[in-house]
């Protein structure tokens, strides 16, 4: 069993395995929606999964436009949806 990591997504506590991306951690707990779009307020999730499409961008510790499919979840990370 690998080490657990605890972070928050929109204030909600989330646990995942060490080394998992933020997007993978959220899908593993059944939370597919990662953000809503700027104009249409449409929900978006992971799409290309490899950092090309920027559809899964979130705010990580206050830094915007971070690709949640690439960034590993870390302890005490504060992740928020962009909208």
């Amino acid at each position: 069993m690998s080490k657990q990591v605890n972070f928050t997504f929109n204030g909600k506590p989330i646990s995942c395995e060490e080394g998992q991306s933020i997007a993978a951690a959220m899908i593993a707990v059944g939370n597919r929606e990662l953000r809503t779009t700027r104009f249409g307020d449409e929900p978006r999730s992971i799409f290309c999964g490899i950092g090309v499409c920027y559809d899964c961008v979130v705010v990580v510790n206050g830094v915007a436009n971070q690709r949640s499919c690439l960034i590993e979840a870390k302890d005490a990370m504060n992740v928020e949806s962009t909208s």
Binding site: E17, G19, Q20, S21, A24, A25, I27, A28, R32, E33, L34, T37, R38, F39, G40, E42, P43, R44, S45, I46, F47, C48, G49, I50, G51, V52, C53, Y54, D55, V57, V63, N65, C69, L70, E72
Partner: protein, 445 residues
């Protein structure tokens, strides 16, 4: 020193080959682990002949003259007299590295075509589904449909099934009978036939029955509509089947990322299937002195061809002789790559799948109706003008997902064909990834 950009099959093979005579190699990759998109792995790589990956990983990691720099996103390359300065972001910090020679092995990403609902959560590329399973150990969903076209759908569907997903359907838009058009390529690549047998056994084990000449024509909150199509990809029977699923993974082959080679000025050409790729000579040298290119960026051909091209590029860059056997093997795989294009074409009929309200540019949320209005009402005659009117392709992904589709939609609406100049210009970006002015200002040179 030689800088290899990309640590997938081509980049790994290049780094390993170049290190054989002790040449200093820096292997840069944006991921945290070796392997690239195809050989991404957690503990072990599974799949056909995947032991090759482990052997190559070990050789590269043990080679004393190879330095692996991970989590480094290259955003630009500059020429400084006879040297190349590669600028990259690592953990939000800008750094750079200088070398005499470059080997670009930046690979490819899934090509996507728009259909109603392709922007909803639950719709993703087969590459994303595979990345979640192989790279993250997470199932994208319990019930999955895999669709699109090409042989990559097989490892994705069987990999998902192996990880515990229910494959509700596997749909290829093309017929496997098209392989009969390429007998010579098959005869010279009998190993590919045994690879097919390997996947056929897995499909049987997981009770997956592939269906052909069918596409996912809409996805609406878990409801998937499958349509039968004609050979030109127009819809033949709008709703032949419907399913309830968690995920649709739809992919249409691959697009190479040509941005970095484009920044250095390497000559590009349009492949027979309309894809922008690099021109290289028999030693994998680009049109620019001391810049070599290997793998998917010279034409989509899969991991086998990428390994050979990478090895040749590594030997060539480090001044070692290139065995004739390698060149022959590459020729055979190139024939197979050509057969792939003949077997899995994407004719223009897909342009009839989106509705007016269907998103075409995901980043800037541009609908199909806005693009058609830019042509019919505003008089846009080419995609560049349509993009200026609508902002399609101007978002964070810099048009990597939609640019080719927008070009082809505008050409379809104006009854033109997309020119090679337009295909090449819409595939290139002035910088390779978004960088904030703050990061640029804080960087050390």
């Amino acid at each position: 020193m030689i800088i290899v950009i990309g640590a997938g099959p081509a980049g790994l093979a290049a780094a390993e080959a170049a290190s054989r005579n002790g040449s200093e190699v820096a292997l840069l990759d944006s991921a945290s682990r070796l392997g690239g998109q195809y050989w991404r792995h957690r503990d072990s790589v599974k799949g056909y002949r995947s032991h090759r990956a482990g052997l190559l990983f070990d050789k590269v990691l043990q080679a004393p003259s190879v330095t692996h720099i991970c989590e480094a996103t290259v955003w630009s390359i500059e020429r400084v007299s006879d040297l190349f300065r590669v600028n990259y972001l690592q953990g939000g910090i800008e750094s750079s590295l200088t070398a005499e020679k470059l080997i670009i092995a930046t690979g490819a990403y899934d090509r996507s075509l728009p259909f109603p609902g392709w922007d909803q959560p639950g719709s993703m590329t087969p590459g994303a589904a595979q990345a979640l399973v192989k790279g993250q150990g997470v199932l994208p969903g319990k019930k999955v449909i895999v669709a699109g076209t090409g042989p990559f759908l097989l490892p994705v569907a069987t990999g998902l099934a192996e990880a515990g997903a229910e494959i509700v359907g596997l749909f290829d838009a093309n017929s496997p009978l098209r392989w009969s058009l390429s007998p010579r390529a098959l005869l010279l690549n009998l190993s590919k036939v045994s690879e097919l047998v390997y996947y056929a056994k897995l499909l049987r084990r997981y009770r997956i029955a592939p269906q052909f000449k069918r596409v996912v024509s809409s996805f609406d909150h878990g409801k998937v509509t499958i349509s039968r199509i004609n050979s030109d990809f127009t819809i033949k029977e709008a709703a032949s089947q419907t399913f309830d699923v968690d995920v649709v993974a739809v992919g249409w082959g691959f697009l190479p990322d040509v941005t970095l080679g484009g920044i250095v000025g390497c000559l590009q050409r349009v492949d027979s299937d309309g894809t922008t790729v690099f021109s290289v000579d028999a030693d994998q040298r680009s049109s620019q002195k001391n810049v070599l290119i290997a793998g998917e960026a010279t034409g989509i051909g899969g991991a086998d061809l990428s390994l050979l091209e990478g090895e040749i590029a590594g030997l060539s860059a480090s001044g070692q002789p290139i065995p004739t056997s390698l060149r022959r093997a590459r020729y055979r795989k190139q024939l197979f790559a050509h057969a792939l294009k003949i077997s899995y074409p994407i004719p223009t009929g897909w342009q009839s799948w989106p509705q007016g309200s269907t998103t075409i540019c995901r980043c800037e949320e541009v609908k199909h109706s806005e693009i058609s209005e830019s042509v019919s009402e505003l008089g846009a005659e080419d995609s560049r003008t349509a993009k200026l009117f609508t902002r399609a392709g101007m978002g964070l992904c810099q048009g990597r997902i939609c640019s080719r589709n927008v070009s082809e939609i505008v050409a379809g609406l104006t009854h033109c064909v997309v020119s090679n100049e337009e295909r090449i210009s819409s595939s290139n970006r002035p910088i390779a990834s978004p960088i904030s002015l703050g990061q640029l200002g804080d960087g050390k040179k």
